[in-house]
Amino acid sequence: MKLVHPLMKYVRPGAISTATCAGCGDGIMAQAVLRAIDELELNIDDFVFVSGIGCAGWIPSPFFNADTLHTTHGRPIAFASGVKLARPDRKVVVISGDGDLAAIGGNHLIHAARRNIGMTVICANNGIYGMTGGQVAPTTPLGLKTTTTPYGNVERAFDLCALVEAAGASYVARWTTYHARGLTRSVKKALTKRGFSFIEVLSQCPVQYGRRTGVGNAVAMMKGYKENSLSVKKAASLNEEELKNKIIVGELVDKDSPELTEEIEKVRRIHE
């Protein structure tokens, strides 16, 4: 008996073989998102998936058999804002890379969070520019030698979750691909949350990060995630020194504030 993968039904025919390198964490993320939709029993036809340019931009595009908008580098949230504003009934999900969302696209990220527009942004943070060949990203650890920091990175990395929280997001969580189950839970939460939700996922890039920088292959990187991560709860009891170089995983923000398209709808009602 030939078993069929339960998520295969969400995969676009002809795009079954993912376009990622062997061991890339993006495939694990893709599944986590589809699994969340499956478990929530939502109709994938009610979604619009928006992505930018980068390996992670290919997570939904063309892989997900749904309405997908593969945009320009850094701009998926801006495009997605147009989709959501014009069709507030759609579930709008942005999935893209750390470079895309936080380097070139950082402004759209913070403004969408500020507006609390109803969309879910899932950031595949591999700490590098994967697609273009392993250049430093604003998420690359200090000291790492990348193709554009041959003597070691001297720029501090963003704490993306803290940034998005400060900008105003309603829901913020961080996971790694090792935490695929927790990630699935958070995606479910985010998809049903009113307002702007953000999930950072540390996702291994074994080729441009692992191999090039000598950190190791996919397995080694996922083991690293396992060993270096701490739950939000555990982290709360530790001091700064103890938290150094640790990945805090779990839900970081979950609060309620008015959602943009609903507020706009109220204004429109005045005129009806």
Binding site: L3, H5, M8, T20, G23, C24, G27, I28, A218
Partner: protein, 70 residues
């Protein structure tokens, strides 16, 4: 039961590494992609935890409860 679609496999070895029960091993044959896919070598030890499926980045593994046939 557990099934591997060899030609979807990219040979990353994640499934092998994260199977707590050591059910899987990399084979030494080449698949269509020119890489070595894993083999189920100790199916009897498998507890259907689903980790290999959860982690396979390429949807190449399906784990399912054995269905009563008939």
């Amino acid at each position: 039961m557990i099934e591997i679609d060899e030609d979807l496999c990219k040979g990353c070895e994640i499934c092998v590494a994260f199977c707590a029960k050591d059910v899987l091993e990399m084979s030494d044959k080449f698949n269509k992609k020119g890489v070595h896919p894993p083999l189920v070598v100790r199916e009897e030890d498998c507890n259907l935890c689903g980790n290999c499926m959860l982690y396979c980045p390429d949807l190449a593994i399906v784990v399912a409860e054995e269905e009563e046939s008939g």
